[in-house]
């Protein structure tokens, strides 16, 4: 791994009796798009706030670029944050919002104006310099928040669920844009989200957090295809238990009919009954009760089928097939109270 932009060692944070962060170690590489994924209460936002310096850790250290910053105030750290609610200054126009970081660091007026205008152009907001945040749409505010952080050219950009408030279409657009901005600017992004699809789409690596602990760190493919714990398997996508192994829903192949022929060579299969069918446009979700007693979910692309075809299949006998290579094993308890897997 390249030089660590962020290095976290045995980080702990207790609020009263609640241990929000219970011993986290992370190494985030320079220029990496790194996501922290977890449900609410998993401690991901607290870790982010500890990196930014808004909270002091109960124990442990935070290093930025090899320098211990654990005791430093937020304004002495070379990181900037994009807040969930954007936290734009309502009394300042867009240009002054973006200039703010340069102004408090005493960059001369002409230079900071030039850089702010450039930053606004990079997020495609040129022409809106004189608007107040209250006069912007959600997507535009999001871009202002991004420009306001990026104009300072921080070593690390922290993003706290920045797309959470946007509607689906805009969120997908901003995902693409975030990724391209990150590549262009070449800075490290630490991205907090509870949306597993978002984390998988955007990240170079993902850390999955639960109850203040890191469950697994890996590339999106590793986390999805080879989840280390039952929690990861359940939180990152749906996982089906078939006997003592698990298979992802899209890896299951459903064949319908009473006269079920033998399985094609090499594959695994199980017989069952369709309990529920949900037509979702591009795909259909089958909920199938296997004869073995397991209940599985299978996703099938609607290549040739239509909604009338698939909904008629409720109650039908089916054969579910999959490839052995797509099986994975996780510890038998679905959500371990105290994960046996070491925080990597």
């Amino acid at each position: 791994m390249p030089e660590a932009a962020v290095r976290i060692r045995d980080l702990r944070k207790t609020f009263g009796a609640v241990e929000a962060v219970a011993g986290v170690d992370l190494d985030i590489g320079d220029g990496e798009f790194f996501s922290m994924l977890g449900p609410s209460g998993s401690g991901k936002t607290t870790v982010l706030r500890l990196i930014a310096g808004f909270e002091r850790p109960t124990a442990g250290t935070v290093e930025l670029g090899g320098v211990d910053v654990t005791g430093l105030a937020p304004f002495d750290r070379d990181v900037n944050t994009v807040f969930q609610d954007y936290a734009l200054f309502p009394h300042l126009d867009v240009l002054r919002n973006v200039e703010y970081g340069l102004k408090v660091r005493r960059v001369p007026r002409a230079a900071r104006r030039e850089r702010a205008v450039e930053a606004l152009r990079s997020v495609r907001l040129d022409g809106l310099e004189r608007r107040r945040p209250g006069e912007l749409s959600g997507g535009q505010r999001q871009r202002v928040a991004l420009a306001r952080a990026l104009v300072n050219e921080p070593r690390v950009l922290l993003l706290d669920e920045p797309l959470g408030a946007l509607d689906l279409k805009l969120r997908e657009e901003m995902q693409v844009e975030l990724k391209s901005i990150q590549r262009r600017a070449g800075i490290t992004f630490v991205f907090v989200t509870h949306d597993q699809e978002e984390a998988l789409t955007l990240s170079d690596r993902v850390a999955v957090l639960d109850r203040g602990r890191v469950q697994q760190v890996g590339t999106p493919a590793e986390v999805y295809e080879r989840p280390a714990t039952g929690f990861v398997a359940g939180f990152v996508g749906t996982s089906n238990r078939v006997g003592d192994v698990c298979v992802r829903p899209e890896k299951l192949h459903v064949e319908i009919g009473d006269d079920l022929p033998g399985p094609p060579g090499g594959g695994r299969h199980a017989l069952g009954t369709v309990a529920e069918v949900v037509y979702a446009g591009a795909v259909t979700r089958f909920v199938i009760d296997l004869d073995s007693g397991d209940r599985v979910v299978a996703l099938q692309q609607n290549l040739r089928t239509s909604s009338t075809d698939v909904t008629r299949q409720r109650g039908a006998r089916v054969r579910v097939g999959w490839e052995a290579a797509h099986e994975f094993r996780v510890p038998s308890d679905a959500v371990p109270a105290s994960p046996a897997a070491p925080a990597s």
Binding site: F75, A87, L88, V104, R105
Partner: protein
């Protein structure tokens, strides 16, 4: 909500009556200040500016207005500093006894003025007199500040709770130190709340009479006390009327400003 035509008319009449009860007496005061009839006969037999010129020339009245302005400005200034600090402590920090502090700060506005007056009077006699500080303008300012703090505290606290701490965090995140954050972010967000609180505080101080009675020395006669002392002297009655009329006109300005200010700040956030 929709009303039947009859109900609508009834509500309008009630509204008109309510407003009339408040504003007709004020109007009478205004008219009487230019009433040519010395005994305020009604309807006025004619109009004159004589009372106004007499009031302007009245030394006692002029001094009383000046004393009241000084007391109001002094109490408001003290309240601005103390109320803002207290509001910050309660809104932005957790500490033992936070709720108790909040209650203790707000209590003076609910205490009967007579209680505050007696308590302060005793305290001043016991503590300040031996130090050579007698009752006067200073003790009036201290007395008024005890309840003026509440208006600032409440206004600032409400604003701090509404804006939350995240703007201050954003400012620190962008590299601003504590002072820069206060100056560029916190203060602008508080400005209209401070102004509205200060107006209210000044108005409270300006017409206060009970606490003032107990804390003012002979040299510090505020306007309400002067009016009260002169109210029953037939000779001064027209001057008292003019002062009342002037105060009515003067109060409209700050109330109008305060209303516009609070509606403007709602529009921004």
């Amino acid at each position: 909500m929709t009303f039947s035509p009859a109900a609508r008319i009834a509500l309008r009449v009630l509204m008109g009556l309510g407003l009339a009860v408040i504003y007709v007496p004020l109007l009478v005061v205004l008219v009487n200040s230019v009433n040519a009839d010395r005994a305020f006969g009604w309807p006025p037999s004619g109009f004159t500016g004589h009372w106004w010129t007499r009031a302007m020339d009245n030394d006692g009245a002029r001094r009383a207005v000046l004393t009241s302005v000084k007391a109001g400005v002094g109490a408001t200034a003290a309240a601005l500093v103390l109320g803002t600090l207290a509001a910050f402590a309660v809104a932005r920090h957790r500490f033992f006894g936070r709720e108790a502090v909040s209650l203790v700060v707000v209590l003076p506005i609910a205490l009967p003025g007579i209680v505050t007056g007696i308590a302060l009077s005793n305290a001043f006699q016991v503590v300040l007199k031996p130090l050579g500080i007698g009752l006067g303008l200073f003790t009036v300012i201290v007395g008024h500040a005890t309840f003026c703090v509440v208006t600032i505290y409440n206004n600032v606290l409400a604003r701090l709770r509404r804006t939350g701490a995240n703007l201050e965090e954003a400012s620190a995140d962008l590299g601003a130190d504590t002072f820069q954050t206060f100056w560029y972010v916190t203060f602008p967000a508080l400005r209209s709340a401070l102004f509205a609180g200060a107006l209210l505080s000044f108005a409270l101080s300006f017409d206060e009479i009970i606490v003032t009675t107990f804390t003012a020395g002979p040299g510090a006669e505020t306007l309400p006390i002067w009016i009260f002392n002169n109210l029953f002297r037939p000779n001064q009655a027209p001057v008292v009327n003019v002062l009342a009329a002037a105060l009515i006109v003067l109060s409209i300005v700050p109330i109008y400003l305060a209303q516009r200010l609070s509606s403007a700040s709602r529009g921004v956030t």
